[in-house]
Amino acid sequence: MYSNEVSKQEKKSLWRFGTKEVVYAAIGAALYAVVTWAFNVWQIPGAGNVGVRPAVVLPMFFGIAFGPIVGFITGFVGNILADLLSGYGFWVWWDLGNGIMGLIPGLFSVLITNYKSGGSILRAEISVVLGVLFGMGLAAVSEMWVSGADMNTVIFGNFLPAFLTNVLWGLVLLPLLMVAYSAIVSQSGR
């Protein structure tokens, strides 16, 4: 009889994309699509592409919990799938914008030490604001390029409604998800 230690201590690497990450990303994207689709009834007409969508918190949360690639795919593929489900087509710049909303919190994931500590939640909330700023910013700017609208129209017609609703949903829901996730982490010893 002998004893051997089989612990390949895996470092929490930012850009790791193994089987687990494939699953988190796939599940995240599918969830984003389902939740968006389920809340489609809440769409406010006349706000451009902007709906009231609690689903926007998902790319942010998956980014915070599982890193930038998972966060990005959750938003990017998730938005594509949501549009496929609704039959809306394929709007690549809004898809990218949603991806960035998950990518940037994902970059912050290394700074998250304990999902329910005040400091970590604060850092996560900052990442939400930045993520939405860049994500929706990109989508709005490309709208300018595609439709030929001027800066004012794009800011007030496309960017601000999207920015404000997404930030609001993200800031309120993200801490709740983080606290819930911390319980799961402690339960499974992940």
Partner: protein
């Protein structure tokens, strides 16, 4: 054993401790599998059977890390240093929940998944997949969407996905957990057939009684991370703890003789056939979509105070759909459901909740609050109760399920069994008059589900209790009225004795007679009611 050919699987002095734990999950495991053998591994949850499986299929150490001792050999070759891909050529694993194992949108895609991962050319892949489907007699499912297959079909599809990779050893992790009796039997027969073709099967299951029907060559009983018994079936029946795993009723009755046993008593009020029905189904028909098929065909059912009703039926017979009509979650396409005289069409689900408390099957699908206390307060607050009442109800509910110490804990951090109890407490706290439960025992081992049912039925405060199940023994021991659904119709309605009178009839409803039923029938002249095997042993002189 032959000395010429090495055995498919040999485990020597195996021990394992997870990194996050201080005590080993398994210790001193020694066992081997021969070609064509089915080895049944029984034990209650936490006995280490899942850990043992993970050691064999390579998830330990590739996914879960810790300290391992001892040796595992596949065909004489140590698995140390083998990658998951190499192990998977010998060992196929069927996980507990086929819903989480199935990765393909269509059946054929699912069956090909492992072959795609091996980089196999397309033609060869299709050939192997078709062969696997044929082996399990499910070729007709090939082009179906996996999501729309039944529970029993899902299991076979998942198994076909494993078989396509042509392993010699199969590990089956509680494969009967989600199946109704008829599907479980079909699955077991399929396992026997595979073993007879030469596969070695390690079958983890606590429904021991069912597995015995396919004559496993060897049985192993584990407790607390150690092998307590290893040998033939006869020996197991004498050694294994009959409160931990489900043994045949005759065995339990014989062994329980003279041992102390407390019969569960119902806390619901006495039944009065003249009383006004609490819930009344009147010719309820239902279809999900206007142009879709009808799934309920004229259900008539009255529920009165004092009744403990088991709704019994195979997967897809319409049990849950029926109960959802009472809650107003679904509204009948024609006919009506009256709740204390009020039609469900004219009220809201939130209103119904004051009368009916409904516990869903899986606790994780409803738990969300940061503390158990808030979780329990959610229902009563929604119903508009004042603070003091809410607080009283919460305290009462948590005491009922004996989890007082967990009130400040997050529910999601609790174990599965505790979560199940929190989920029921979160319904109890609404102090509804009727309690309804969907598959109350699912996901729990034999010991836990017995004690769970005992607790619930002894909880005072309910006028009536109703539970959905496909477990015949559960219905016959815990209900005073049984309703059998088949294909969206009520086929039988009465006392367990009346409903379970005819074996042939039961088989037609895809319910299989059990040893406990047979025993109860034999002793009915003496008992006048259906009882658990332990109770019967007290009566048998």
């Amino acid at each position: 054993m032959t000395d010429s050919l090495p055995l498919p699987l040999v485990i020597r002095d195996l021990g394992f401790r997870y990194n996050s734990r201080t005590t080993p999950a398994i210790e001193d495991i020694n066992l081997h599998l021969e070609p064509g053998q089915i080895v049944l591994l029984a034990g209650s949850s936490g006995c280490g059977k899942t850990t043992l499986m993970c050691c064999v299929n390579g998830l330990i150490p590739h996914t879960y890390q810790g300290y391992m001792q001892g040796e595992i050999e596949l065909y004489g070759k140590s698995i140390k240093g083998m990658g998951l891909a190499e192990i998977s050529k010998h060992v196929g694993t069927l996980l507990q929940d086929p819903e989480r194992q199935i990765l393909g949108t269509y059946v054929i895609n699912e069956v090909c998944f492992g072959l795609e991962s091996q980089g196999m050319p397309r033609e060869e892949m299709i050939q192997k997949a078709e062969k696997a489907l044929e082996r399990l007699h499910i070729t007709h499912l090939k082009d179906k969407e996996t999501h729309y297959t039944s529970g029993g079909e899902k299991q076979k599809v998942a198994l076909a996905g494993v078989l396509a990779m042509e392993p010699n050893i199969l590990l089956l992790d509680e494969p009967l957990a989600s199946l109704d009796p008829a599907s479980a039997r079909e699955a077991l027969l399929a396992f026997r057939e595979l073993a007879d073709e030469g596969l070695s099967i390690l079958l983890v299951e606590h429904r021991v009684e069912d597995v015995l029907e396919i004559n496993p060559e060897k049985v192993i009983y584990m407790d607390n991370g150690r092998v307590v018994y290893q040998g033939d079936v006869k020996g197991l029946l004498e050694t294994a703890d009959y409160t931990r795993i489900k043994l045949p009723a005759q065995t339990v009755m014989r062994r329980a003789k003279g041992k102390p046993f407390e019969e569960c008593c119902f806390a619901v009020p006495a039944f009065d056939p003249q009383s006004e029905p609490l819930v009344s189904f009147q010719d309820v028909c239902f279809r999900y979509k206007e142009d879709g098929p009808e799934v309920l065909h004229g259900i008539n059912l009255d529920i009165r105070a004092g009744e403990v009703i088991a709704i019994l039926g195979h997967n897809g017979s319409g049990k849950t759909t029926t109960v959802k009509q009472a809650l107003g979650l679904l509204k009948p396409t024609s006919g009506q459901v009256l709740l204390e005289g009020v039609e469900t069409r004219k009220t809201t689900v939130a209103n119904v909740a004051k009368t009916i408390g409904y516990v869903f099957q899986s606790p994780s699908q409803m738990l969300f609050a940061p503390t158990v206390r808030e979780e329990l307060a959610f229902g009563p607050e929604n119903l508009g109760m004042d603070k003091e009442t809410v607080s009283q109800n919460v305290d009462w509910a948590i005491e009922t399920v004996h989890l007082e110490h967990e009130l400040p804990m997050p529910p999601l951090a609790l174990s599965f069994g505790q979560q199940k109890r929190v989920s029921i407490a979160s319904v109890l706290s609404m102090k509804s008059r009727i309690l309804m439960m969907d598959e109350p025992t699912s996901g729990q081992d034999y010991w836990n589900y017995q004690s769970f049912m005992n607790t619930i039925l002894q909880t005072p405060g309910f006028d009536a209790i109703l539970f959905i199940t496909h477990d015949l023994d559960l219905a016959l021991t815990y209900a005073n009225r049984v309703v059998v659904l088949y294909g969206g119709q009520v086929m039988a309605d009465g006392s367990p004795y009346e409903v379970f009178a005819d074996d042939e009839q039961l088989r037609q409803w895809r319910l299989l007679p059990t040893s406990l039923l047979k025993l109860n029938r034999e002793m009915y002249a003496q008992t006048g009611q259906f009882l658990r095997a332990e109770a019967l042993s007290q009566l048998a002189g």
